[in-house]
């Protein structure tokens, strides 16, 4: 198989104009900055995890817009799903520990 034919499979022509792409990229960059600020400003840990998950989705969209579908998939699975799950479980654990500690003191 000749190389040009192969490359045609790998790189299909753009279907979005360059100007539209610029608009899209700037929009998503602004959204990501807003999302990061939102995560930092959220004070309640459980809500912060949800905000972080939304931020993960925004980052995934950013990577997709910048033509990195592989990284998009990784970010989507890790940033939007795996990390929030681990954080929520840890929060549940920490909270429970704190509660039983208090009640133990009260018992004495």
């Amino acid at each position: 198989m000749s190389a040009p034919h192969v490359l045609a499979i790998v790189a299909p022509p753009y279907t979005v104009s360059a100007g539209m792409m610029d608009v899209l990229q700037v929009t998503v960059l602004v959204l990501v900055a807003a999302g990061a600020t939102m995560v930092a400003l959220t004070r309640v840990p459980a809500r912060q995890v949800i905000a972080l998950s939304v931020y993960g989705v925004l980052l995934a969209i950013l990577f997709l817009v910048f033509q990195a579908p592989d990284v998009t998939l990784s970010e989507l699975t890790i940033g939007a799903v795996a990390l929030p799950i681990l954080l929520l479980l840890t929060l549940a654990k920490v909270r429970e520990r704190g509660d039983s500690g208090k009640s133990g003191e009260r018992g004495k």
Partner: protein
């Protein structure tokens, strides 16, 4: 040091950092410009050399396969570490429980029941998540996907079973010792694919399997597809292991104290 002084030190340090940062930014290549040769070289040779149209996978599992072995074992060690540390903690906790006795206030507090909507959505999503994960893990050579992403999605399928309120079913579907073994098979399989090349007298991780005829076919790309499969198995098992250890921590103790 007064708060006022501290604020000044912070502001001066921030100004210095900002100056260095902006100075550094001016030296970066222009937006969208890639000056290095490697990306272009890989783009022009990867498909012809490996028959994998998922060029990122070709890079991950072939051109820099040795790095990926390292990454794979980072996750393996991390999962092992989590399992070890949390198992010790559970022991500690159980001793505490005996001392505290039955009149623990936290014990009487029930977790809110899972709503019907969550239960149903989770159960509906389980099958598609498993299929999607498997598809991602087995199509690294054809499209943007791969074992890492596929493994996590695969694990998500199992975690959805827990989300549907079936923790015991989750435990039954993925018993810890079986998950341990599967994880080891995944991690060891990757390394073994490389060692097999050495046994044939080739360099470690050489792509010695037939590459197939059609670029981008599922059966093409030789060891790239095989390694992606093993990575998917490893990552999926490792992730299930980590989550189920954490779930044990949160749920079994809650159950135990009732």
């Amino acid at each position: 040091m007064t708060p006022r002084q501290r604020r000044w030190i912070f502001l001066i340090a921030m100004a210095g950092l900002a100056a260095f940062y902006l100075w550094g930014l001016t030296g970066l290549p222009g937006f969208g410009n890639y000056p290095g040769p490697y990306g272009d070289v890989i783009n022009s040779i990867a498909v012809a050399e490996t028959n994998a149209t998922g060029v990122v996978s070709a890079v991950n599992f072939e051109y820099r396969g040795f790095d990926t072995v390292g990454e794979e074992f980072i996750l393996f060690v991390a999962a092992t570490g989590v399992a070890t540390v949390l198992r010790q903690m559970r022991d500690e906790r159980e001793h505490e429980e005996e001392e505290a006795g039955a009149d623990d206030e936290a014990a009487t507090r029930d977790a809110p029941p899972t709503s019907g909507a969550i239960r149903m959505v989770a159960l509906i999503m389980t099958g598609p998540a498993v299929v999607m994960g498997w598809w991602l893990a087995s199509h690294a050579q054809t499209t943007p996907s791969g074992g890492f992403q596929g493994g996590v999605v695969l694990a998500t399928g199992f975690i959805l079973i827990y989300l549907a309120g079936k923790f015991l079913a989750f435990d039954r579907f993925s018993p810890a010792d079986v998950t341990d073994a599967v994880e080891a098979v995944g991690a060891g399989g990757f390394a073994a694919v490389g060692v097999a090349a050495v046994a044939m007298g080739l360099p470690y991780l050489t792509n010695y399997l037939p590459l197939g005829i059609t670029p981008g076919a599922v059966s093409s790309s030789g060891t790239i597809a095989l390694i992606s499969f093993f990575v998917g198995v490893e990552v999926g098992a490792a992730f299930i292991l980590i989550v189920s250890e954490l779930l044990d921590q949160t749920l079994l103790i809650r159950q135990g104290s009732q």
